[in-house]
């Protein structure tokens, strides 16, 4: 039996694979984002200035300021763990949020965001922000997402979209 050498096929596939690898490699480098907690961010503050970071924390209601004309929003968030299992062990998300908001020793960070004030931005809601740390240690958020866990969460089934 004659052995078939499918040269064109190999060339074609090689070109495609190389192109795809390059595409993925270059976009991976340009759009990587670190997922961190407030504590982790503080511990690596120096090296992370200017890097794209996504972070989650609990909103402290007293600290929210908002100017409807310039759409400048600023508020402080406190440390909550990033790990599900830890959150479950500590009694569920709503308890973790309430405890962290009440804990004066929890690490905190100031967030600045420009845009309309989200409706869920209030005391004890969970803020998930994407952005970067500036030189003064303020987190400049380009994206702001808020969540309010339901009180029934622990015993009742979860809803889609929450």
């Amino acid at each position: 039996m004659k052995k078939k050498t499918n040269t064109k096929m190999i060339v074609g596939v090689a070109v495609i694979v190389l192109a795809l690898a390059f595409l993925i490699y270059s976009t991976t480098r340009s759009s990587t984002q670190y997922f961190m907690t407030v504590e982790e961010l503080h511990s690596r503050q120096a090296e992370l200035v200017g890097q794209n970071v996504r972070m989650s924390g609990v909103v402290l209601g007293d600290t929210i300021t908002y100017d409807p004309k310039t759409l400048d929003i600023s508020f402080v968030v406190a440390q909550i763990p990033g790990d599900h299992k830890m959150i479950e062990e500590m009694g569920g998300m709503s308890k973790v949020l309430a405890d962290a908001a009440a804990d004066p020793l929890a690490e905190r960070i100031t967030i600045h965001y420009t845009g309309a004030k989200p409706d869920l931005l209030k005391h004890e809601s969970q803020a998930i922000v994407s952005g970067s740390l500036d030189e003064e240690g303020v987190f400049q958020a380009s994206e702001l997402l808020l969540k309010c866990p339901s009180k029934y969460e622990s015993i009742l089934p979860e809803q889609a979209g929450n």
């Binding site: 064109k8 670190y34 997922f35 409807p68 599900h84 409706d119 969540k147 979860e158 809803q159 889609a160």
Partner: protein, 686 residues
């Protein structure tokens, strides 16, 4: 009602289990047919499953708040239709509904005109059914009831959790998440689930063929209708989800590369590739391995999607509760994956077709490029999904991607696909000579060049956008000309109807090009302004002006408080329309829902959003977006789905194969033949 629902669910589970055991015993005796008894048991199981799901529905409609699921998704103020559709609004209900869909697919496969299942594939479907049903049975049971213990603790359980616990029916229902109360969201999940479910049958058939050492040639004839139907439902489901997100989520986006969205795209990509290479297998008996791989991959991706959506595995930073079903689901997904890989490797040699790539622009090669591009997009998506997990394991700090990653990595691939879509029909179409090709291509080129003039005048002066527009227009004109090509021949309509499989395929491609047009409008040409306004203020937006008149509140609905801004849309000094973007405040949930208002034309949408307001101070913050061409996206999706349905509607016809035996010809037979003849002509050219 609890007992009826729960007992019938147990009955459905047990009958399916008995059918599984019987089938195993029969297969052990090397009999590959399904015994009438197990077939009957499967049908009984479906009947019981249906009664069970109906009783859950009834509990939702009658607001039986002793049921934990009802408490979590129903409240008294919801209209009945939403009370019913809340069946798939929550985790337990949607899982239960999904297992019912799997059972439904089994029933259709068993009773349909064309019998596609043998013992092995029957077994595979039963295993899937029992797996998902046991998730509902043992982990997320929708029939769990609410109990109050002596210490007044509220607990959710099937049966009394402690000696003195009593049923507790007075928890206030929370109601369905307001975001989910949109027509698109009401029908999006069942359509998507049906689409997902239909991929199971081809998967089971493929596994059976590999197990029994068949070469996969029967795959196409047996499962094409399943694949096409699944593809149609999946496409419609994705489009509905996108429309919902544009209409409801307020940010005016239609696609955000959220993991949950991305996973629904994965089986779409692999099944689209599959539909293409199945064409070649039918005609030339090539790409057998590729097709089996794609059939298997598609269903594995479906289950993977359920894992991502339901188990919150990849969303860890979003802190969705990681649920109890994530571990069994992960194991099941991995098992399906390993099974597929092992089977393919085992039979790999015997499936070879000896195909060689003879030319870089032959029809085979172009189909292959199409599939490579589709799979390349799939790989990009998978990389994006797995990256946080991989980096989390390797470095301790999870790293993910911004949506720029998906945009930048997939945009060139999508553009190449669109180019292929515009270019491929020409290869098959004219082709007898390069000269003739030039002539045939000239007309569409002129048409699409002409279309650029209004685009330049009214839409954009950006050259990149214009070139992209040009390619899309070129493809569209090609599709239209292909469809009209036979218009001059006699009995046009009868011929047209006869060949509707082929025209359906043209429609699908034209639909996708229209979607591309809409995406281009949203990504490259849209613009947004935000403004703080007091009554009487006017804000310019391109050729429009938006005036803020006043703001008002309504208390009509018991569930929420509506706040609406009255805006007037001006154009050239004339009033075009009054617009009322607003917000609904669900006080019990502490949740706001934006209700955007838009002025829609074919040119695009003027999309207004009430971002913020103060009744006391009388100001509002309004966002206005100009979204050119966006409506072509919905029109394109409609055309795509209708076109595919048209193609699928052609009943199979009898014909002769190469050996002169009578076989069932597939509905797209004619399309293949035509493409084959034309492309052979073109291949003969130097």
């Amino acid at each position: 009602m609890f007992y009826l629902g729960f007992v019938t669910f147990v009955g459905a589970f047990v009958t399916a289990l008995i059918a599984l055991v019987l089938t195993l015993a029969r297969l052990a005796r090397k009999e590959r047919t399904i015994s009438p008894l197990s077939s009957l048991l499967a049908k009984v199981s479906f009947g019981l499953h249906t009664v069970s799901i109906l009783s859950l529905l009834l509990m939702q409609l009658t607001q039986d708040y002793s049921n934990a699921y009802v408490v979590s998704v129903i409240n008294p103020a919801m209209p009945d239709i939403l009370k019913a559709t809340a069946l798939w609004g929550g985790m337990a209900g949607s899982l239960f509904f999904w297992s019912w869909v799997v059972n439904l697919c089994l029933l259709i496969a068993l009773t349909g005109r064309r019998k596609v299942l043998d013992g092995w594939s029957f077994l595979i479907v039963l295993v899937n059914l029992l797996f998902f049903a046991s998730l509902s049975m043992f982990v997320e049971n929708p029939f769990n009831r609410v109990w109050a213990t002596v210490e007044d603790k509220i607990v959710s359980a099937l049966f009394s959790p402690a000696a003195d616990a009593r049923l507790y029916g007075s928890l206030d229902g929370i109601g369905l998440n307001p975001l989910l109360r949109h027509f698109g969201m009401i029908i999006h999940p069942p359509i998507l689930y049906l689409g997902f479910g239909f991929f199971l049958i081809p998967f089971a058939v493929a596994v059976s063929q590999l197990l029994c050492g068949e070469n996969g040639e029967g795959l196409l004839g047996q499962t094409r209708t399943w694949l096409l139907t699944a593809w149609i439902l999946l496409s419609a489901g994705i489009a509905l989800g996108s429309w919902w997100s544009y209409d409801v989520l307020g940010w005016g986006g239609y696609w955000a590369w959220d993991p949950v969205e991305t996973v629904s795209l994965l089986p779409w990509l692999s099944s689209t590739a599959l539909l293409h290479s199945l064409l070649l297998q039918k005609q030339k008996h090539i790409f057998r391995r590729f097709n089996l791989l794609l059939v298997l991959l598609t269903y594995v991706l479906v289950v993977f999607g359920i894992l991502i959506t339901r188990a919150g595995l990849l969303n860890s930073v979003h802190a969705f509760g990681e649920s109890n079903i994530s571990i069994p689901l992960t194991i099941f997904t991995s098992a399906l994956f390993v099974l597929s890989v092992v089977l393919l490797l085992w039979r790999w040699k015997s499936l070879g077709t000896g195909w060689e790539m003879n030319s870089f622009i032959s029809r085979d090669a172009l189909f292959l490029y199409t599939n490579m591009l589709l799979l390349a997009i799939l790989i990009v998506c998978l990389w994006g999904l797995f990256y946080p997990l991989v980096t989390g394991e390797l470095t301790g700090t999870q790293q993910g991607f911004t949506r720029d990653f998906y945009d930048q990595a997939t945009a060139p691939l999508f553009l190449l696909l669109i180019f292929l879509m515009a270019f491929c029909p020409l290869i098959g179409w004219s082709a007898a000579a390069i000269k003739k090709l030039g002539k045939a291509a000239l007309l569409p080129l002129l048409f699409s060049a002409a279309a650029l003039i209004p685009a330049y005048l009214y839409l954009t002066q950006s050259w990149v956008a214009l070139i992209a527009l040009f390619i899309v227009m070129w493809g569209l004109v090609n599709m239209v000309l292909l469809t009209l090509r036979d218009a001059s021949k006699s009995r046009f309509f009868a011929r047209w109807w006869d060949r509707r499989a082929r025209y359906g395929a043209y429609f699908v491609h034209a639909g996708i090009l229209l979607i591309a047009l809409g995406i281009m409008g949203m990504e490259a040409l849209s613009s947004t302004v935000e403004g703080f306004m007091v009554p009487g203020d006017k804000m310019p937006m391109g050729q429009y002006e938006i005036e803020f008149v006043d703001i008002r509140q309504e208390y009509d609905n018991p569930e929420y408080l509506t706040t609406e801004a009255n805006l007037v849309l001006w154009k050239d000094g004339e009033i075009l329309k009054e617009m009322h973007p607003g917000q609904d405040l669900y006080e019990n949930r502490g949740q706001y829902i934006s209700t955007p208002d838009k002025h829609s034309t074919l040119r695009g949408d003027v999309y207004t959003l009430l971002l913020d307001y103060s009744l006391m101070m009388g100001y509002v913050t309004i966002q206005v977006a100009d979204n050119p061409l966006v409506n072509f996206m919905w029109l394109g999706a409609l055309l795509m789905v209708l076109g595919a349905a048209l193609a699928a509607s052609r009943a199979p016809v009898l014909g002769l194969n190469d050996a002169g035996e009578t076989i069932v010809l597939d509905d797209t037979e004619e399309l293949y033949e035509e493409v084959l003849v034309l492309s052979q002509q073109s291949e003969e050219q130097p």
